[in-house]
Symmetry: C2
Subunit: 155 residues, 2 copies
């Protein structure tokens, strides 16, 4: 097998492992990185909104809106945007993804924790209990941090 | 009334008109612009996913995931990120917002069209009829364009 073909097969294997079907457009490398950065910043905006509500005057609708954005993105299988080699390159800015992300054995658990915390956040937000929202906001932040600590380079 | 106070009052009036309560953190001007750009790019990624599915092999889950992201963002009252003066400045890049956006009489209708099209997109996606999804995808694209044509500068 020549080198080009080997790279292709390795790419397909990784893609298959990530559960991606081929109908999905993953875009060029810079698109993948920019889309990732955009999605995380959209979640960061939403986290900021929830924090402002639990720290200040509580507005249920705002918290529900923000939690729904986080939940939808958390369930959108962003794994498709982590193609092999995308630990190098620039979207809006250079990616901070560490190389050890790819194929790391902790990754499925970390991803599952985040998804579960995001789903629970949306559920608790819909309930409208500010104290419960504050507690779940803390847990969701921890779930985010679980990935950042392990797979994101410091700025 | 001095100039500074006039500016403040005008800002508060615009904010009130946009239906924003003060518990919400709108961030510094560059945060607002970066959050806007991030949210639109997250929706653009989702539109790309839907398009890949209606043009190629159809995967219902992918379309539902993407439509849910667009719906959640469309319902997140992004108007809060359009504070007076935010037609100038840089988030990830210089904003392309035209000055005539602020207070334009067509804005409520354009925003309502987009929200309705995004909600319908999520509903149709959940139904799983590829032809209906394709038709609604077109309508949603038109709703996006309704704002772009009027309030977004060309690149």
């Amino acid at each position: 097998m020549n080198k080009k073909l080997k790279t292709l097969v390795a790419g397909i294997t990784l893609t298959a492992m990530a559960g991606i079907t081929f109908a999905q457009t993953v875009g060029k490398m810079e698109d993948q990185i920019r889309w990732r950065q955009s999605a995380y910043h959209t979640m960061a905006w939403s986290m900021t909104r929830i924090k402002a509500n639990v720290d200040g005057q509580y507005n249920k609708d705002q918290v529900v809106e923000a939690a729904n954005v986080i939940q939808a993105i958390a369930n959108s299988k962003m794994g498709a945007l982590y193609q092999s080699g995308s630990d190098k390159g620039k979207g809006w800015k250079e990616t901070r993804l560490k190389s050890e992300f790819f194929g790391h054995s902790d990754l499925p658990q970390i991803a599952q924790n985040f998804g579960a915390a995001a789903n629970e956040m949306a559920k608790v937000a819909a309930g409208g209990d500010a104290a419960a929202v504050k507690a779940q906001f803390g847990k969701l932040g921890e779930a985010c941090k679980g990935c950042h600590d392990k797979f994101r380079k410091d700025e």
